[in-house]
Symmetry: C2
Subunit: 463 residues, 2 copies
């Protein structure tokens, strides 16, 4: 009898199929702590669309579930292996197929790293804006599959705003092309944006056409230090009420300031309740806009407000923000030998930010669990990082309760359970709560329409 | 036996159900010439979501197809009645439910006219950018159902970029809520953007939450007159290659210039091959940007280039552009007693504009059919307006051939069959060609998943 693996190896060649146990282990999970992961039967590394199509057709015939993976930098378990699955790692499909500067359009394979595309565009005076925290390692395919956000979103939007068209291999191995290469187009249902953010549950993305923008001019950056979270929230409201459009508006809470100082001392004011980091990039108006931002921060009660004196200092400030995640991991490991983080990703209407911040402090105190909050304040998108001791079930359970109470509170404030990280395994139940019965039914109907036998990343997004 | 109409009238009240034959006639069609329209069995005018849900549940039980309608300004027959259908006119659901200035979000019922929302936002210092030609009469519901474009899209994007969430009544009468009120969110499949542009075939939209932007500063406007279409296309390429982002970049061909002068004389140069109308609205940099645009137009071969001296003159130029459609209708009626237009809406990569323009001239000459081209040059989106004598089947057939040859040519240039008007009845066959077999299969699978008995606007978009 020809087995699944025989057939797969015959079709793709032995070099593209991994079955070594130790190697398989390294493909089990993404960066989400505390999400289940199974052991894959095999990993396949396609180098062209035909390989993906062949592998999916064979998997469908044998009823083997398929889990697509990019760089496994996800934070919701969406790329975690399922017991006995075929992991499809897209990292070998890493060519920039075309960079059409005149039309400001690029076509790439899914394994191209975000920073590689961003730098290739920049070399042509163009910009690919989406900038998730993982941009130096995460792939465009993974960014598209999770509809990744980043710090630029407050002005430039998330990944889906830039995706014009896709090539996708369907569950049965057929190849679908969606969208277009033109700036505008409304030909039929918007399948492109249905696949964006679908976390590998509807098809495997094999090519992506994105819109590029002119490269940004140099930005100006400032920091405002607030005595209370309410004052920081008030500053955010004032900035938007004034009609300003900062290109970046990030928040770090006291826990993060302390964690950063412990991890990489840079003289941050750890007595502050919150710090806002803002940037503007509107050309000749930038200086005036930044001064307006600073004045609004002062009106909202900021103590210290200072501007980066040059590009180097501005880059250092951004780097501090980008270090928030490793700094919190460092904090977790300084508290517990097996310390870890449950990373949340909640978004609320901008005007409810201060309330949510205060609620998180209260919830953390109630359960005596350290929680640091960092986030994209301009988008109302916060990442509460919940510190747990992985070796202590009681600590993990307390962290889970904190996570659930923050989610409950965020939804009650008119928010959503995920602003940019996706649902994966981590948020399936909160997604169901957020969508309601009809919403879940329709999501299931879409999934069944495209993957009737539930072979593509089963159990992710929807239970 | 209780009939469909008895049940409908009992549930919604007689004032909301129209069965008078003469009144029904006025609900038969949108503004697309030459598309079939049937006679509705009745028209219902719901005033709240519960009415829509009740009417759809009753229609589903009786197997009566339902055609949703806004202001019937569509140009593809998407809102045309089907023989024996229930027309659902959304015009009575015309409340702005909420205008949340602090979060820059508005929630409206589908019957709110675009200009009404735009003006309400402006009164609060905000802006709802999508500006289809019909903005003074078309509804937000219709704009969302067709994913309407407009002149601002070159910088500000089409309708879908602004839709955050929807309330939709499904084919079986259940009420679905999609999306969110937060700036960011990736919770589950993007059903919001699946419904945007679905032309009433997947559900009836009953509430829309849109993002608003700060009101634009006053814009500066210029006109450049070109001796050849190639020179105009070259100017468009140069503008984008220079990294400029005009807020408007429109093209009028010689046929349109002549039609406008005949309709409303304003001293346009009717010897020009094409005119580009451009605007910039980037605040203090606007004057420099406009000068750069003018210089690039000159380098591309523009003869005359002039700037509007003030807001009044700029408004007059925009008005001339907005009169292009009535001017062409006037031309058709001056040529034939029963003159009419077949309006095309093709989009190609920006760099292929000049080729497409030349091809259209050639195709029109070959068939001896007058064709005027107007369009959103910055988006590569052209509207060839094909003049036909409705009373002469040979003329209509010739117009149809011109339409088909332009479509064929546009797709060969890497384009799409509809940039912003939608598919409706007019472009079903071209959509199928553009999507290919797998694409059509997937679109059908989505339709079946949401409307298994094919009762919602059947035969539109897909045959």
């Amino acid at each position: 009898m020809v087995t699944f693996l025989d057939e797969l190896t015959a079709a793709l060649g032995p070099d593209r199929v991994i079955t070594d146990h130790d190697l398989l282990i390294s493909y089990r999970r993404d960066e989400a702590d505390l999400c289940d992961a199974g052991m894959p039967l095999a990993v396949v590394r396609p180098e062209e669309t035909a390989h993906v199509a062949a592998a999916l057709a064979i998997a469908a015939r044998h009823g083997v579930p398929v889990v697509p993976q990019g760089a496994r930098t996800g934070l919701a378990g969406g790329a975690n292996a399922i017991e006995g699955c075929l992991v499809m790692s897209m990292l070998a499909m890493n060519r920039i197929v075309d960079l059409d500067t005149a039309n400001r359009v690029a076509t790439v394979q899914p394994g191209v790293v975000n920073a590689v595309l961003a730098r290739a565009a920049l070399a042509e005076g163009l910009r690919y804006p989406p900038d998730p925290g993982s941009w130096e390692s995460s792939t465009i395919g993974g960014n598209v599959a999770t509809n990744a956000g980043g710090m630029c979103c407050v002005k430039y939007g998330v990944t889906t705003e830039y995706v014009l068209g896709l090539e996708v291999v369907l569950a049965d191995g057929r190849v679908l092309r969606t969208g277009r290469r033109t700036p505008k187009g409304v030909a039929g249902y918007d399948l492109t944006r249905l696949f964006v953010g679908s976390e590998g549950t509807l098809g495997v993305i094999t090519e992506i056409t994105v819109a590029l923008r002119p490269a940004a001019e140099e930005s100006l950056t400032m920091v405002a230090v607030f005595p209370t979270t309410a004052a920081a929230g008030d500053a955010v409201n004032r900035i938007f009420a004034a009609g300003l459009s900062p290109s970046l508006l990030e928040l770090l809470d006291r826990v993060h300031l302390e964690a950063l100082e412990a991890y990489r001392p840079m003289g941050l004011d750890t007595s502050a309740a919150a710090v806002l980091l803002a940037a503007v990039d509107t050309g000749s108006r930038a200086a005036a806009d930044l001064e307006a931002l600073a004045e609004l921060a002062r009106q909202a009660g900021a103590g210290e407000v200072w501007q980066a004196t040059d590009a180097t200092e501005a880059a250092e400030l951004l780097q501090a923000r980008r270090l928030a995640h490793p700094a919190m991991e460092h904090l977790a490991l300084s508290l517990y030998e097996h310390g870890g983080l449950i990373i949340d990703d909640i978004a609320v209407p901008r005007t409810r930010l201060a309330e949510l911040l205060d609620d998180i402090v209260e919830i953390a105190a109630k359960h005596d669990v350290p929680v640091g909050v960092v986030g994209h304040a301009g988008d109302g998108n916060l990442h509460p990082n919940i510190v747990v001791n992985r070796a202590d079930p009681a600590s993990v359970a307390a962290g889970q309760r904190v996570f659930d109470e923050i989610m409950e509170r965020g939804l009650a404030l008119g928010g959503t359970c995920t602003g940019e990280h996706g649902v994966g395994l981590l948020k399936r139940d909160w997604l169901a709560t957020e969508l309601g019965e009809v919403g879940v039914d329709v999501q299931r109907a879409i999934k069944s329409a495209l993957d009737p036998t539930n072979l593509l990343n089963p159990g992710k997004v929807l239970r």
